[in-house]
């Protein structure tokens, strides 16, 4: 199979450029998100991935192959988002500051794509790396998800492009993100997991922002169009979900983790919908993600914060700190 090669049609560029004035904002969200993204800036070289070498060497060949395939799949998605996805949103921007935010998103996606190569060069041999990249070009489900998203990026609907982009940022990465979170919960490749956590944090801001701009865009269209886009969003999520299940099986069946990964997919599919302003699709009982994975993502997401259910017992009033009026004087 030939390597994926896109776009087949040239992407549209903006028609007109004016000097951007950051002192005159049309949407304050643009500056807020710009500041958040630049404040969160990082490079993979800052994380001591080489400390994972002993851990990597203790892992099985099957785990090595799985890890490299997963990361190569993530590299492909980040490459798409960096070179096509985020860039394709620029001509649709409603404000010049929104255009600037997309250039930041595009650049960070390229940093993400490069960080997998940085992990590979630290841990793996060139034969292993070449084999993983060759695999990525032959896995039909990986190629299919790339193709589905790329088709929308080339299409003529700015709002559908934002839906596809949000689903990529908030849903399609997670079949891959699962693995480093799983390993980290077993004290394997913990520095690599730190790199992935930085990527996961960035994707949350990207998904939130593109989803927010989608919702602003929806305000400008009529009820019929809005309903069409709602249906389209659920249809696209279902189409991508079916393919993700196949992709997940092709990766994780060998290590017996498929069922666990699929719960994580549904959980993140719901979150992607929420970023677009839509209610969750998958019911709670099939989104019961392994608590070790959630804890690996967020050490604070434990049951102690469900005071209502009475299941968490660690809330202690004594943990409160002294406060006075000045604490709230900003």
């Amino acid at each position: 199979m030939a390597p994926i090669s896109v776009p087949r049609k040239p992407l549209k560029l903006i028609d007109r450029v004016s000097a951007i004035n950051w002192n005159k904002l049309e949407d304050e969200k643009d500056l807020e998100v710009w500041d958040r993204l630049t404040g969160n800036f990082w490079l993979p070289e800052k994380v001591p991935v080489s400390n994972d070498i002993p851990s990597w060497q203790a892992m099985s060949e099957e785990e090595h192959t799985l890890t490299m395939r997963v990361f190569t799949g993530l590299t492909l998605l980040d490459t798409i988002q960096g070179t096509v996805g985020a860039v394709s949103l620029i001509p649709d921007a409603l404000t010049p500051h929104e255009e600037a935010v997309y250039t930041n998103i595009a650049f960070m996606e390229s940093v993400h794509a490069k960080s997998y190569s940085s992990i590979f060069s630290t841990l793996c041999s060139s034969e292993q790396i070449d084999a993983a990249f060759a695999w990525s070009e032959e896995n039909e489900y990986l190629q299919k998800k790339a193709q589905i998203v790329l088709d929308y990026y080339e299409g003529d609907s700015p709002l559908k492009r934002k839906v596809a982009s949000t689903l990529l940022e908030s849903f399609l990465f997670y079949s891959g993100f699962y693995l480093p979170m799983y390993f980290s919960s077993h004290a394997k490749l913990t520095n690599t997991a730190d790199v992935i956590r930085l990527i996961i944090r960035d994707e949350a801001v990207h998904g939130y922002y593109i989803g927010y701009k989608y919702q602003r865009g929806l305000e400008l269209v009529g009820d019929a169009k809005r309903e069409e886009l709602r249906e389209y969003t659920y249809d696209l999520l279902n189409e991508l979900y079916d393919n993700e299940v196949e992709y997940t099986e092709s990766l994780y069946d060998g290590v017996g983790l498929t069922e666990d990964v699929e719960k994580f997919l549904r959980y993140n599919g719901n979150k992607a919908l929420m970023n677009l302003g839509y209610p969750a699709l998958f019911p709670a009982e099939i989104c019961d993600v392994n608590p070790a994975i959630i804890a690996s993502l967020s050490p604070n997401a434990d049951e102690n914060h469900d005071f209502f259910s009475g299941s968490g017992s660690s809330y202690v009033m004594g943990k409160a700190e002294e406060t006075d009026d000045e604490d709230w004087d900003f």
């Binding site: 956590r197 801001v205 979150k271 967020s298 997401a301 914060h305 409160a320 709230w328």
Partner: protein
């Protein structure tokens, strides 16, 4: 919030105004604050400025009885940080944390939980509306 249908439970809901120029909200009855976590992973910026302004009024602070936070586990340790900060500063329990706009399950837990919470408090606070 709307899907929780708090009006059916005789629980009044109020929204903290978005803009600095808006009339400030004053609450003079026991209440639970539902706060989103901002800051994109930066804990120091987790509590939205509007909520800080609201809680900067000592009379508003006097009536807070609990806090519920939303957030995103993608932000790691900062997940739901606004709830933990308000809980610590105001010495009230963090009742529940949910992600983004919440799933139907989160809505059910929040609705049922708050109904029980206010019912239990009513015996302590006879002035409860």
């Amino acid at each position: 919030m709307e899907s929780c249908r708090f009006d059916e439970l005789n629980i009044a809901t109020y929204r903290i105004p978005l803009r600095a120029g808006d009339e400030p909200l004053a609450i003079r009855e026991p209440y639970v604050l539902i706060v989103p976590t901002y800051g994109g992973g930066v804990v120091a910026k987790a509590v939205p400025p509007q909520v800080k302004r609201f809680l900067n009024d000592p009379d508003n602070r006097a009536w807070i009885r609990g806090v519920i936070a939303s957030g995103n586990t993608n932000f790691g340790e900062a997940y739901g940080a606004a709830g933990r900060i308000v809980s610590a500063k105001c010495k009230v329990p963090l009742l529940f944390t949910f992600e983004l706009m919440g799933t139907p399950e989160d809505v059910r837990k929040t609705r049922d939980g708050l109904a029980r919470f206010f019912a239990q408090r009513q015996s302590h606070e006879p002035h409860q509306h």
